[in-house]
């Protein structure tokens, strides 16, 4: 059972519960959830803090608060059909666990929450020094489940477990990664080997991404594309052969073959479906990071909505080559990393209702048959894919300096430059407001 926390909420949550004062501080996370593979993900949608006057002074250790505060928080949870996780801190604990008192009060409190909001998980979590532990009562269950990790989203994803960052017993890096680990360290390599990356779209950009993920040694690639090999793909799809064209090999199978030939320790799950189809959604939810290599804004909107809903960082790449008259040409590309709780493609104005309407010519989406053929050149696809892989490396291993800035990486293929463009994100983005950590919907029978 894992917990994911968007960046903005994670920052304020840690600030509150690590506050010093005459008593312990607590925070109430309002949560949704989903099933990802065989794992429950608990997704923090909002946080409620207590005002100083809502705490009650006692002679006992810990935090005590007024009943009226509990009612206020329960009402908010009920209104949003959300579960409640109670957070507090044991600041100096490298290995952390709930105390016997914590467990006792959780065992009393959680069934009360469950009785009022039965369709969502409720729990009690303790945060230590880069460690986290807790118990959760899942919908429809009487027994409590242990929390295995808390993921703080940011430009680097940080997973805090009950044992914190204590050194693991076998930090030996396999020979294949020995020089790579000189940059990302043995812990970075270990993190990569446990990371599941979904790649949506397996043409020029996506095939380069799969190739590099295989070399990097990620744990699993979830390769999503419904298309078969066609002759006009062969100039840019890495790994595609003449035989694949003759045999109309699905692109996902081309990728599986390529990944296996590079690194048989990397699993590749072929998903020959559109990203909006049920099977693809189910697989995408298992991903730690999604790399989007699609050619339409509508597909991007679908991926972005899913990534926000399930709190998955999304790296999008896109290329537009426009040959002009008299030999002029414009070659532009973007690499955009959307970190849930920081900014999405809508916040960054890369997506808008107007742009989506323009893409379909103002008609409903049901009439939209995809974008027209555009110029594509493998070298430019590869450059954007490589930049996206650097974003992934930062997200997983944190090899570079951390940054909280919102920016888009702009590629100009004519001047062959890649620039970081700072973006002032949209305040109160309507898509983040509704989709962020929404999880699976709770249906109420009429």
């Amino acid at each position: 059972m894992k917990i994911r926390i968007p960046e903005n909420l994670g920052i304020s949550l840690r600030k509150e519960i690590f506050k010093r004062g005459g008593h312990e501080y607590v925070a109430f996370a309002l949560v949704s959830h989903t099933m990802a593979g065989n794992e429950i993900l608990v997704l923090v949608k909002d946080i409620e803090f207590l005002a100083e006057q809502e705490y009650v002074e006692t002679l006992y250790h810990g935090a005590h608060w007024r009943g009226s505060a509990t009612i206020r928080i329960l009402n908010r949870a009920l209104a949003g059909k959300l579960g409640i996780l109670l957070f507090h801190a044991h600041e100096y604990s490298e290995s952390v666990g709930l105390s016997m008192d914590d467990v006792k009060s959780a065992r009393e409190l959680l069934p009360v929450y469950q009785n009022l909001i039965p369709d969502r998980p409720h729990g009690s979590i303790v945060i230590g020094h880069e460690s986290a532990a807790g118990i959760v009562l899942l919908p429809g269950e009487d027994a409590i489940s242990e929390v295995t990790s808390v993921r703080w989203l940011g430009d680097v994803m940080r997973d805090w477990t009950p044992h914190g960052n204590r050194k693991i017993s076998s930090p030996v890096v396999p020979a294949i990664y020995s020089t790579q680990a000189l940059l990302i360290g043995s812990s970075g390599q270990r993190k990569l080997s446990h990371t599941k990356v979904a790649v949506v779209g397996l043409s020029g950009g996506g095939s380069h991404v799969v190739q590099q993920l295989s070399h990097l040694g990620v744990g699993e690639i979830i390769a999503i594309d419904p298309d078969i090999s066609e002759e006009d793909n062969r100039h840019r799809v890495i790994g595609m052969t003449k035989k694949d064209i003759r045999e109309e090999t699905p692109k996902v199978e081309v990728m599986r073959r390529m990944a296996r030939s590079i690194n048989d320790e990397v699993a590749l799950k072929p998903v020959g479906h559109l990203v909006s189809e049920e099977f693809a959604i189910t697989e995408l939810k298992r991903a730690d990071v999604v790399i989007g290599c699609v050619d339409s804004l509508h597909a991007r909107a679908d991926i972005q909505a899913l990534c926000l809903r399930y709190l998955i960082p999304y790296v999008d790449i896109g290329l537009l080559i426009v040959p002009g008259e008299n030999g002029s040409v414009s070659i532009g590309g973007n690499i955009i990393t959307s970190i849930p709780g920081r900014a999405c493609l809508w916040c960054m104005r890369f997506l808008s209702e107007k742009k989506l309407a323009e893409e379909t010519g103002g008609k409903p989406r049901s009439y939209f048959q995809g974008t027209e053929k555009q110029a594509q050149v493998v070298s430019f696809n590869g450059l954007l894919a490589s930049a996206a892989m650097n974003e992934l490396l930062q997200l997983v291993t944190g090899f570079g300096p951390s940054s909280t800035a919102v920016s888009i990486k702009k590629f100009d293929g004519v001047s062959n430059t890649l620039e970081d463009w700072k973006v002032e994100p949209l305040q109160n983005c309507p898509i983040c407001r509704t989709e962020l950590a929404a999880g699976d919907p709770v249906w109420e029978k009429l």
Binding site: T34, K81, L274, V275, S276, E277, E278, I281, K285, H298, D302, A305, L306, R309, Y310, P364, R365, S366, Y367, F368, P430, R433, T434, A438, G439, D440, P441, V442, W443, E444, K445, L446
Partner: protein, 117 residues
């Protein structure tokens, strides 16, 4: 839960299993089984309505995978994700006045579109 001026009781009477959820300014209505025109496969489909006061009529979606009378996929459809689930948007031609027509009429009229390509 806001119903945006729509009457939901007759939906329950007609379709028996109807559920609702809410997100932002939208109310989502899930009809577990609504009949498709004769010759369609399957004969019934789940239907999702999205209600919003700002829209002149509800949005309607069905589950992907419907084959029409000639065994083919219906034209002018698109598979999209709504609330993390896969739904099929489809073209239809229906006059709808929310002051005159019910949601039961809206669903029946929209699904009639699957009687042809």
């Amino acid at each position: 839960m806001p119903t945006h001026g729509y009457e939901l009781d007759d939906l329950k009477e007609q379709y028996k299993t109807v559920s609702v959820s809410e997100n932002g300014s939208n109310t989502y209505v899930l009809v577990e089984k609504a009949g498709l025109p004769p010759g369609c496969h399957p004969k019934e489909t789940p239907v999702l309505l999205v209600l919003n006061s700002g829209q002149p009529r509800p949005e309607i979606y069905v589950k992907p995978g419907i084959k029409i009378l000639n065994g083919q996929d219906p034209r002018s459809t698109s598979i999209i994700n709504i609330q993390g689930q896969s739904w099929m948007q489809f073209s239809y031609n229906l006059e709808f006045d929310r002051n005159k027509h019910s949601l039961v009429q809206f669903i029946a009229g929209s699904l009639r579109r699957f009687s042809k390509n």
